[in-house]
């Protein structure tokens, strides 16, 4: 007993002392001071050995690591004495990191993180320490020693940075810290060497997690995409192409973790025997649910702006991207995949913001041959890059080239289908990009024997039936379009053929006349229903009221105080409707302007209304003509059209083979099992044992001599046992 109590107060190792100091800092002040000065002496020893380039002692290293941990754990108890401690750690790791052993470096970094978490040092200080380390240990900096553990340190520092920024941005965003970090990122990107890759990586990761979602982060990536270094530029480009998708996936993953059914748990608690474990389970579940509810629905409160939408100067960015990276003389440094990524990004930019980069279209010509690797991706980019504000002559060159190279009798059907589909995509965005003769030539493929080709040609026809039916051959125009044309010819009005420069954009809300019309129809139907209801009600009550209502306004019955206000309103509307119904016959074709005025002034449109509007517009086929699809990406795989017998890749073939083998272990080879090193089990031994050896055993003989009753008993037992096993 005596020994034990002594051990409790006599700290013989640092861990024990740490525990004691944490419990009662004042009483153990002297011990702490002793250890602190021990830390100081060890630190001086390390610095001395660093000066003389010797490796420090192993025992010293472990001690030092222990002490650094100890001091940083308890230094919040002694703020005066350890005022300089964080600063010392910072200087040590920044100036002596080359000569310090890896363990010490690791410990110092984690201790600094801990100090930040305890609030001893600010997040800015930590970031100012971490970034130089990240740069110093990036793979390109030379003259790292043999045992530098550069990779581990990099990983550690990087993870520290990410978790720091994450913890600083939970709840409310720490804009000050974000700004300063972003400033560091800008500076890194300004440097000519490849250290900017860290800025790009960091920004991408933080974007993926939804921690950074402002235009400054996007601006960083803009700079990265325009960087001289291929790696950095490529990572910047990939960010714009894929980061938003990644972010969405990330949040989807987070959101669909297991939903806890609280009601079921509560019910279980009532029914089952109460135990502390179950109680804890319920508590933790309750906590989890609360946390989920407390957190914002969209994590970090981010608005779903994609990076491309947050660009500050899209036109300038696209211009620079094209002149500096893609079409400059030094573009040889990019390989084909990187060039394609650049093309995709540029075309997406142009499509989304309707930019003008006129050189881009002639740039494509070089790549548009069927033999070109990954040509579908390039075709998709070409389609994406076209929109109705580009002069048609510019795109026409592109279309002509595609038609020449891809769509002829000599090429494979997939190639022709891909070409036709691409032309359709281009023309859906810029209907003037094709001249009449070429279009009529291309539509001839509707009779092709290859399904993909004929489908593509027909879709082209369908597109132009809506866009510009005059350009099609007479027989291709279809009933509705040709009737329209005839009518307009008769009236002598000008043709509805689209012209370049004449914008067909809409005032107010596109397609609102459709909504107005739909609503009117519906309300009429509803009104009839209401009338019916009224009739029913009224029939039940009094017949006189009906007469009164029909006759006029003076319905307000004073004795009936709880009269529903809504009813009164609907009455008013009914009247209006009656009036408008009279006029409905006259102005059946509502023009959009008046419809907009009518609807927008009378009520507020709800999201449900907009959803309906969208639905109606797609029904009408207007949406496609309005160029709404500009923002949608063109899927390069879909351009080829449906394939009946696609050659499967090796992985797919293997997968299908493995699928066939499932559940057939018995017939497969036991090659794998043979490798498993194990001794035979007792059961196996029992089974393999020689029959002759077993037959004279009592356990076997005894079975024969058993009485009938015993045998029955054993059999019964066996049966119940087997049943319990589930056989």
């Amino acid at each position: 007993m005596v020994r034990k109590s002594r051990a409790a107060i006599l700290p013989t190792n640092v861990i024990l002392l740490q525990n004691l100091v944490k419990r009662d800092p004042q009483s153990y002040r002297e011990e702490f001071l002793q250890q602190y000065s021990h830390y100081e002496s060890l630190r001086d020893i390390f610095m001395l050995s660093a000066m003389e380039n010797q490796s420090a002692d192993d025992s010293n290293t472990t001690q030092f690591v222990e002490l650094v941990g100890f001091v940083s754990q308890v230094c919040s108890c002694f703020p005066e004495e350890t005022a300089n401690f964080p600063n010392e750690l910072k200087q040590l790791v920044l100036e002596y990191h080359r000569s310090l052993p890896f363990e010490v470096r690791e410990k110092i970094i984690s201790s600094l993180t801990m100090l930040r978490n305890k609030g001893v040092i600010s997040a800015e200080t930590l970031i100012q320490t971490m970034f130089p380390l990240l740069v110093a240990y990036s793979s390109h900096s030379n003259a790292l020693g043999t045992n530098s553990h550069a990779k581990e340190v990099r990983k550690l520092v990087y993870n520290t940075l990410i978790s720091l920024l994450k913890s600083c941005n939970t709840g409310a965003k720490n804009q000050k810290l974000n700004r300063s970090t972003q400033a560091i990122c800008f500076n890194l990107l300004d440097q000519p060497d490849s250290q900017g890759v860290w800025a790009a990586r960091l920004t991408r990761e933080l974007w993926r997690r939804g921690i950074w979602d402002d235009s400054r982060a996007v601006e960083i990536m803009t700079q990265a995409a325009l960087h001289d270094d291929v790696k950095i530029a490529y990572s910047g480009v990939l960010f714009f192409l894929g980061a938003d998708k990644e972010r969405e996936e990330n949040f989807e993953e987070n959101s669909d973790d297991e939903d806890i059914d609280m009601d079921a748990l509560r019910h279980k608690m009532q029914i089952n025997k109460k135990s502390s474990k179950r109680g804890k389970k319920l508590d933790s579940a309750l906590k989890a649910v609360k946390k989920k509810k407390a957190g914002p629905k969209t994590p970090q409160g981010y608005l779903n702006f994609s990076a491309i939408h947050l660009l500050r100067d899209p036109q300038g960015f696209a211009d620079k991207l094209f002149t500096k990276q893609l079409s400059s003389k030094s573009n040889n440094r990019f390989d084909l995949d990187q060039k394609i990524a650049l093309m995709q990004l540029l075309s997406r930019l142009i499509g989304t913001h309707k930019l003008m980069v006129l050189g881009f279209y002639s740039f494509f010509l070089k790549y548009l041959t069927p033999k070109q690797r990954d040509v579908t991706k390039i075709l998709a980019a070409a389609a994406q890059a076209s929109h109705d504000l580009i002069p048609p002559e510019t795109i026409m060159v592109l279309v002509r080239k595609i038609a020449d190279e891809f769509v002829s009798d000599g090429v494979a059907s997939e190639v022709a289908a891909a070409g036709l589909n691409t032309i359709r995509e281009i023309c859906s965005r810029a209907p003037l990009a094709i001249d009449e003769t070429l279009l009529q030539d291309l539509t001839e493929y509707k009779g092709s024997k290859a399904k993909g080709v004929s489908m593509a040609a027909k879709s082209l026809i369908a597109l132009y039936r809506e866009a510009a039916p005059e350009m099609l051959k007479r027989k291709d125009r279809g009933k509705v379009a040709s009737m329209d044309i005839q009518e307009s010819n008769r009236e002598g009005g000008e043709s509805k053929r689209p012209k370049f420069g004449v914008e067909n954009n809409v005032q107010g809300i596109a397609g609102i006349e459709l909504l107005a019309k739909w609503q009117k129809d519906n309300e009429n139907a509803e009104a009839e229903d209401e009338d019916n209801d009224d009739n029913w009600e009224i029939d039940e009550d009094h017949v006189e009221d009906e007469d009164e209502e029909d006759e006029g306004e003076w319905v307000t019955v004073e004795s009936d105080k709880e009269y529903d206000v809504d009813m009164g309103e609907s009455d008013g509307e009914d009247k209006e409707k009656d009036e408008s119904e009279d006029g409905a016959q006259k102005e059946k074709a509502l023009d959009p302007e008046s419809a907009f005025k009518e609807l927008a002034t009378s009520r507020v449109l709800t999201p449900a209304d907009f959803a309906k509007l969208e639905e109606l517009r797609t029904e009408q086929g207007v949406a496609r003509l309005m160029g709404v699809r500009n923002e949608e990406t063109v899927d390069s795989d879909r351009l080829v059209g449906p394939l009946k017998h696609r050659k499967s890749t090796k992985e797919e073939r293997l997968a299908s083979i493995m699928e066939g083998r499932e559940g057939r272990e018995k017939f497969g080879s036991r090659k794998k099992n043979r490798d498993q090193q194990r001794s035979t089990t007792n059961r196996e031994k029992e089974r393999k044992k020689n029959y002759v050896m077993m037959i004279h055993k009592r356990s076997v003989k005894g079975k024969q001599k058993m009485s009938l009753r015993d045998r029955q008993k054993v059999l019964r037992q066996h049966i119940t046992k087997q049943k319990k096993k589930g056989h």
Binding site: H38, I45, S55, D58, N84
Partner: protein, 357 residues
């Protein structure tokens, strides 16, 4: 069964070697080959073997040097006996290698043993230092900075035995290179000794805390025989150190007459290995941003005090009061340490007089 038998027998048959074919590998042979860009053996430093010349005169000492270098790694051996024996061997070798260049690596690997857990090792190390000091004081003077660091590390060690023994090392060091010690690390060493003795340096500051300014360890083990013995040694060390630092040696009359005027001194080769150490030209220290805020004592910790009056001033200002208090209580206790404490007190009084005069 027959098949099994033949298989078994095959194991014991000798494989016939064939001409032009390599020997067949055993079935249970383990492949130990690996590829790596670089193999590092951090605890096996590269031995720079001195070129083994056939000159008969150098041969003996060179072989000795090579031997010493080989044995350096034994200083980190896990067995305490081996470590001790290595130190004993070094001690025997000291007369031969004292002026060779292998003394520096030897000292570098021996110094960390000041904090060794084993008492025997520490004793052997003390003897080694003593031996070195007797042969050439300048070697210890040259390494005084590292020595101070490790002694200080021992003084603050968490294991009480190591802490107690650090006084012995300091005593030995004071004997041979006292001048360097008191010049460069006056405050540091005094603070360390205070810690070893369990005295509080600044009583005034501790009154805001509950602690009595005394470590719990020193309270518990105060009365053991070992502690008493160690206390006596440490008091002696303190006495030596204070005397060395504060009281000028009475100038020898004969030497005085021989010595030239003081200005002449500066133009001859100094008799200490590092005369300009105090300038700290080749020493890196961490910046202390909050230098103004700490107590005065903290500022002094890294300052070198070159002359006696300055050291006396520091001593009187910061250390004299607690020292007098503690020595008086020790004198009251009596015993061996009481005697030493008495002489310490006398010395302190003379220092005070010197300071006031």
């Amino acid at each position: 069964m027959a098949k099994k038998k033949t298989l078994k027998q095959q194991d014991f048959q000798k494989k016939k070697l064939k001409v032009g074919k390599p020997k067949q590998a055993a079935s249970n042979a383990t492949d130990t080959s690996f590829t790596a860009r670089m193999i590092s053996l951090p605890n096996q430093p590269k031995i720079k073997t001195p070129g083994l010349s056939n000159n008969t005169s150098d041969n003996g000492s060179q072989r000795m040097e090579a031997d010493i270098l080989k044995r350096l790694s034994l200083c980190k051996h896990h067995s305490a006996t081996t470590r001790k024996e290595t130190l004993v061997y070094f001690k025997q070798a000291v007369p031969k290698i004292i002026n060779t260049k292998c003394i520096t690596p030897m000292l570098n690997s021996c110094l960390p043993l000041i904090c060794d857990d084993d008492a025997q090792v520490r004793n052997a190390l003390l003897e080694l230092f003593d031996e070195i000091g007797q042969h050439d004081q300048n070697v210890l003077r040259l390494h005084s900075r590292a020595l101070v660091l490790f002694i200080n590390s021992g003084m603050t060690h968490i294991v009480p035995a190591v802490q107690r023994d650090s006084g012995k090392f300091l005593k030995c060091a004071v004997r041979y290179c006292g001048d360097e010690l008191v010049r460069n690390s006056w405050v540091k060493m005094l603070k360390g000794l205070f810690g070893v003795l369990g005295w509080a340096v600044d009583v005034s500051r501790t009154n805001n805390s509950v602690s009595m300014g005394v470590k719990s360890a020193s309270v518990v083990s105060m009365n053991s025989a070992k502690a008493k013995r160690a206390q006596k040694v440490n008091l002696e060390t303190l006495l030596d150190f204070v005397q060395c630092g504060c009281i000028e040696p009475t100038p020898d009359a004969t030497l005085e007459s021989q010595q030239a005027p003081s200005a002449f001194d500066k133009y001859i080769i100094p008799n200490v290995p590092q005369p300009f150490q105090h300038l700290k030209l080749f020493v890196k220290e961490l910046k202390n941003e909050k230098a103004g805020k700490g107590s005065k004592l903290d500022e002094l910790a890294n300052v070198s005090l070159q002359d006696y009056p300055a050291r006396r001033e520091v001593l009187v200002e910061h250390f004299l009061e607690p020292m007098l208090q503690n020595t008086s209580s020790l004198i009251a206790d009596g015993g061996d340490s009481g005697k030493v404490a008495n002489s310490l007190q006398d010395t302190l009084h003379t220092i005070k007089q010197l300071h006031e005069s």
